[in-house]
């Protein structure tokens, strides 16, 4: 069970009427708080990641088509995603979401869905905080250290180039090391990589 009973939600939806409506519905719930609203996601993922939300409610159709099959990679730290749906969305797309809120759902049902999602999520403590690299970041770091370019890294890890860049920024921020050569030294010193892999 999750001990912390306060969940920070980021809402990503272009319609002002709908975002206002969702916020109004959630307002009464002490456990849920909408900390920020964005009209689109592809241009603000970095900002969203900085907020370290516990949950993201997202309209799947505003995600660019090429990212729909890997939407979870747009955000760091395995943040659970909940789809907000008021048009037809392909089932394939919805598979990437932990739950689906339909525009027709009544208030209690929406709140219940959100809380259910949070209960199935492993607590945030599992995600390394601060300057510790996450497992995903370590994998990306190794690829960078091997001399791969962003495009190759994106293909190998099945993520977008945008996500690769976002990971790389975080890796440099956390380690204090910017250059590829410096990251290679870091990877060797931390036994993430064998010297023979870079020779």
């Amino acid at each position: 069970m999750v001990s912390r009973k306060h969940y920070r939600i980021v809402l990503i939806e272009p319609s002002a009427i709908i975002t206002a409506g969702i916020q109004e519905l959630i307002k009464g719930e002490r456990e849920l708080e909408v900390v920020a609203v964005f009209a689109d996601c592809c241009h603000s993922t970095e900002h969203i990641n900085d907020l370290r939300p516990d949950l993201i409610i997202l309209n799947p159709l505003i995600v660019d088509f090429k990212y729909r099959h890997c939407v979870e990679d747009l955000f760091l730290g395995n943040v659970p995603l909940v789809a907000l749906v008021y048009q037809y969305v392909e089932p394939e797309t919805l598979r990437h979401y932990r739950a689906v809120i339909d525009i027709e759902d009544e208030r209690a049902k929406i709140v219940r869905k959100l809380l259910q999602v949070m209960e199935t999520v492993t607590p945030r403590q599992d995600v390394p905080e601060g300057n510790e690299l996450s497992e995903r970041e370590k994998e990306i770091l190794v690829s960078v250290a091997k001399g791969m370019i962003n495009k190759e890294i994106a293909e190998q890890h099945h993520i977008s180039i945008h996500t690769v860049i976002s990971h790389r920024k975080n890796i440099s921020r956390k380690t204090g090391i910017k250059s590829v050569a410096g990251l290679t030294v870091f990877a060797i010193l931390n036994n993430l990589l064998d010297i023979n892999d870079v020779e």
Binding site: K178, A181, G182, V185, L189
Partner: protein
């Protein structure tokens, strides 16, 4: 007392300047100035080695005072040949003296380290050195000859200082990375003393290169832009 009395002037004794800021010691070899200058003023010392004291004092002020920025008259007075000679001497001073010393220290420091660590560190520093060499070479082979040609009134075509301004890349990422490697990540083995000495040298080199870039951006480029205007682009 002039209104600029807080900064150095060429009438001051060179010995006094060094006492006021010992970092200026690092500038002397680049001007061909040797220690043992008795009570001579900066101007007298410079005259003996054929260096413009105006340039020397301006650079001393840039190194000694964070809040110093050369005035327009000072930039206009600067002799372009003297400035280029200083920059060239600085380049070889960085490579042959400062960077070489750090490389030697790294070898000694890591001599007893894990072989893979030695190798990767060595490779890292070689890459850094090559980056610096390329950076300096570009300036000396492309930018400086261009400046010299407009300095004598010949406008070489196909190049403008603006191109240099835009491409003046920074070469400080790797140095900064190296600091973090030694401060945070290199195993806490017995080479503490050596590492401390290396870190002091890296910090000092980094600061020096920052001032070097400042001189190129705030003195060299404006000076060349003025020349370009004079000879009608």
């Amino acid at each position: 007392m002039t209104k600029n009395s807080s900064f150095f002037t060429s009438g001051m004794k060179l010995a006094d300047l060094i006492h006021l800021d010992y970092k200026l010691l690092l500038l002397l070899p680049r001007f061909g100035l040797n220690l043992g200058f008795r009570d001579q003023t900066a101007e007298e010392c410079c005259a003996r080695v054929g260096v413009s004291s105006q340039l020397f004092i301006m650079i001393c002020n840039i190194y000694a005072f964070e809040n110093y920025s050369p005035r327009k008259e000072e930039i206009d007075q600067t002799e372009i040949d003297q400035l280029l000679a200083y920059l060239r001497h600085s380049h070889s001073y960085y490579l042959d003296d400062r960077i070489q010393r750090i490389q030697d220290q790294l070898k000694i420091m890591s001599a007893n380290s894990d072989l893979a660590h030695q190798k990767i560190l060595n490779r890292f520093f070689e890459e850094y050195k090559n980056e610096v060499i390329n950076h300096f070479e570009y300036e000396e082979k492309t930018v400086f000859p261009y400046i010299q040609s407009i300095g004598v009134g010949k406008k070489a075509t196909g190049y403008e200082i603006e191109i240099f301004e835009q491409n003046h890349s920074n070469i400080d990422d790797k140095l900064s990375d190296l600091k973090n490697i030694f401060i945070k990540y290199w195993p806490a083995d017995s080479s503490q003393k050596e590492r401390t000495a290396i870190l002091f040298n890296i910090f000092s080199l980094e600061e020096d290169l920052r001032k070097h870039t400042f001189i190129e951006d705030k003195v060299l480029i404006p000076l060349v832009q003025k020349l370009e205007q004079n000879y009608g682009k």
